[in-house]
Symmetry: C3
Subunit: 398 residues, 3 copies
């Protein structure tokens, strides 16, 4: 890793307009904007490890809204808030209260008088999560424009139906580090984002969608693999294709895990539900059709079971570049014989890369913090420079 | 708004004995004491907007006890705590554990060793909430007097059966601002605190009680309007009458929304349950008479339905002073055709004043913070002056 | 209490290797290590009372994992975290998710990227709690050794199946203060740790086990009293015997409350479940044998009822040294005629010592903070000296 000073200088050279913008989808951001977030995340990580106080705020709230269960994203957001000097306040929403127009507009303002950021996770229903985040953003814009709010809190997408930017950006940090710290090294590297078998159903699509849309930005050779029918949101494939064309990378879809693994530098085997199943699920939940939901789950699990061979085994890993591809996972993985009988990955493969997956995850708090900082402050480079010269995070250095 | 320095000077001229006292009922406080809280709230709001660090504490806990559901008061209290440098700790009380003597006395001390403030919401049962807060106060007095507690945490009433001081004081800030920032401008202004129809039952009485007892302190011409039978706690009417007599204001009760609206400068249409229904409800809950509770609810809703005409419509608003009265609400309002079929206020009226109601709510965190500061510090003016000269709340100013 | 400066000097003279170690069992620590924790706790308490800012950290998380309900330990941990500048983050674990190997190892790392301490309460199942804490510790060691975690969070045992060190150490602070502030004064003092009747079942063993293993370290004359069958974990008795032999104290077990009270300087009457019942209970829960659990409870309560005479009455108190023994309890006590019909202690006795039990409890937040500080910093004495010279905790001193 470069020194903090040289990283701050590099950050200063990036052109970005992240200030005052929400971080909802990576593919709405320019390459320099993505690099700026990575750079800030790496700086904050280095400062934390180096016992440098990184508080951009002395007070202020960081609100989290989790419309789906989460442990690690919850802790990542809590950590990011704390690192920057904000106090976490979880908003325990009943769906009925905030789901519709008037109430959402009002509630968004009511919780934001002293808030600097709102992190939202809403990933389970197709066509809902991203829309919800945009609606919260519009409500905040309205309140800020009319002097109700003294500041416009940033919104950070902690996972929606389209993208999972805090995960994919943490993955990008991990890949960059793995290949030597340079974006150029990512160019042409083959990454296999592949479906894998899991004995559960209804896993969101946002991770594979996030990976194919982000990694194609940096010239990577991205292969998406899944059994027939396990399609992602069609528009994310279009984005991936366009990104690959623009960056000089490559994007293709195959229906074989083995084919995707061939010569891959990186593999990312992970289960998800077919787009159409998620769409149907959304419809059934809207109609509160419990019988339909149960039937859908049964069918989906039966269909999953046809593809138990989609497991990341040592034999498959042998097919990767030198048999040494980097295994990635957003965690928790379904590990065969460990967390389930048959799952996404063989225990032997997972154990070999276990600590790597932890390191992959370790970037997330700092990526979230970087998204907050870049949205709330005009000149992060200057402020990071200020902080780096200022003081210790704890007394251990005395 | 006056400059921060001139406001601090004005605060310094007010005589008050808020130090060491709890904030339970506005009508226990002198006019200067109420004005001091308003002044501190306005100062803290201006300092927050002006990026001034307002931490009176570097560490310390702010405990909240919610014996009734709440979103906005919860966030207001969390915001106030954070603004002053305190960490929020919610006390998730099981009613059976703390409701009676010995346990309350013990628990109040056990949670207070490092606490600076306890905010309590207990509004649902007539004769209980205020009594409970007094009991907590007595337990803290006992612990502090005997050296168990190194400090006596302040108690802030976040809504009880008698009063809702954080709401009514925020409303006072809003009215003061609306009429030009001067208490003299409130003199003789007509405010209609009126019942309004809602398809729900058992809404607490503390808002109308808080409004009639507070606004009569400042020479306002206060009309309370409700259908026959929808009485408030009798003693609050007596307080309102006495206050009006003392301040040169006026207080009357009418049984017509239209009559109350005539020539009003301000209207506050809001549903509540009749005092006798709330009393009966308390009795039934004490006896855990579920059948009785269900019957009471059915009867009360049927009775409400006789008064669906009590809706704040454009036609009624026409009757107010120049057709331009300020509409107020503590939120959330029951908006006809939006949040319910038939409710307290027509959608057209609410939308016209929507942002005003948000601004009204925006004072609450700062009012709570002002109550904490004035109870815990002997000379808030000097300390605010110190803070105003000291530092930024966030790095944005660099 | 000695002055802060002289206490810091005394602390500096103690030899301890608490840095980098977890605080799981008092009997794993040397006498100087225990004294160091007491000294730091007393210093932090004095600094708090004296309005000295005691933040060792500017940011960082303090994680709590409560596998059993708790109010006061929850608040004590929250207070300790806040005092040191850490933000509390509660980990709301579902037992099924973290109970087994792989998941525990992963989760422990996932929540710890920015964490400084993990406080764990897991006291209900024999053979589980301490083992769980050790497993979390091993997972953190693994993550720290491999660069996953930039720091190794300290683990503080907030109550396990074997020991309750934050309670027993707070009790030690209280005893030391009671007898004049000097460990030498504890030598030869008689303490009766006795079972007492309670109308509840399944109370953990960790308090009596903690008391007999800790107080025997300081030359006290410890009597454990309980009805036949209400045995503690056998190994804790062995530890108590060994400790007494080493320290020149005494340890014996009797089956009579009256006998234990005779000439006692201190009495600690408290209910617990027999070790064998707790063991059987653990087995039944593992098999999810609801019928068996219900039967066990019925039998255990019936057996308890045979010993209603085991109540701390005024008559029994008369048997103590001069009739003036110090009554202790970890709270909440089962007070006859107050919190239950027949319980551990007569109302008259409890009321006489009520404030003493509050003072006993008041040490706990500072003991927890001391455990954190001594585990995370190499030279607490120097850092406390630095803090004592630095600044105020709140603006009250201006």
């Amino acid at each position: 890793m470069h020194s903090i000073a040289s990283k701050i200088a590099a950050l200063g050279r990036l052109e970005h307009r992240l200030f005052g913008k929400d971080f909802l989808l990576t593919f709405e951001k320019s390459p320099d904007e993505l690099k700026a977030v990575v750079e800030i995340a790496e700086l904050l990580k280095a400062m934390h490890a180096g016992n440098i106080d990184a508080r951009f705020f002395s007070t202020g709230l960081a609100i989290s809204i989790f419309r789906d269960q989460s442990t690690r994203t919850r802790f990542s957001f809590a950590s990011a808030a704390n690192l920057l000097g904000l106090a976490l306040q979880e908003f325990d929403e009943k769906k009925s209260q905030v789901a519709h127009g008037e109430t959402l507009r009002e509630t968004a303002n009511m919780i934001s008088f002293l808030s600097e950021v709102i992190g939202i996770r809403d990933d389970m229903f197709i066509g809902k999560g991203h829309t919800y985040m945009q609606a919260v953003g519009a409500a905040l814009d309205d309140g800020f424009a009319h002097g109700v709010l003294p500041q416009r809190p940033a919104i950070v997408n902690l996972q929606c139906d389209i993208d999972h930017p805090t995960q994919s950006m943490a993955d990008l940090c991990h890949l960059k580090q793995h290949f030597g710290g340079d974006y150029e090294a990512l160019r042409g590297k083959k990454i296999a984002m592949t479906w894998a078998y899991s004995p559960s159903y209804g896993k969101p699509l946002s991770v594979p969608q996030g990976i194919i849309t982000l990694m194609t930005r940096f010239g990577m050779d991205v292969t998406l693999a899944h059994p027939e029918g396990y399609d992602l949101l069609p528009e994310t494939l279009q984005v991936a294709e366009k990104n690959a064309a623009e960056s000089g990378g490559r994007f293709r879809v195959v229906n074989s895990m083995a084919k995707a693994f061939e010569g891959a530098h990186v593999v990312y085997p992970k289960s998800w539900a077919p787009f159409r199943v998620m769409q149907e699920r959304t419809r059934l939940y809207e109609q509160n059709d419990q019988k339909g939901i149960a039937e859908l789950e049964k069918d989906a699990l039966a269909n999953n079971a046809r593809f138990k061979k989609w497991e990341c085994t040592p034999a498959l890993m042998e097919k990767t570049k030198g048999g040494q591809a980097l295994y990635m996972h957003c965690l928790p993985a379904d590990i065969s014989g460990v967390s389930c009988q048959e799952g996404e990955v063989a225990a032997e493969v997972f154990e070999k890369y276990r600590l790597d997956t932890y390191r992959e995850a370790s970037y997330k708090p700092f990526v979230i913090a970087a998204m907050i900082v870049s949205s709330r402050f005009r000149d992060p480079a200057a402020l990071l420079d200020h902080l780096a010269r200022k003081g210790a995070r704890h007394l251990g250095a005395l």
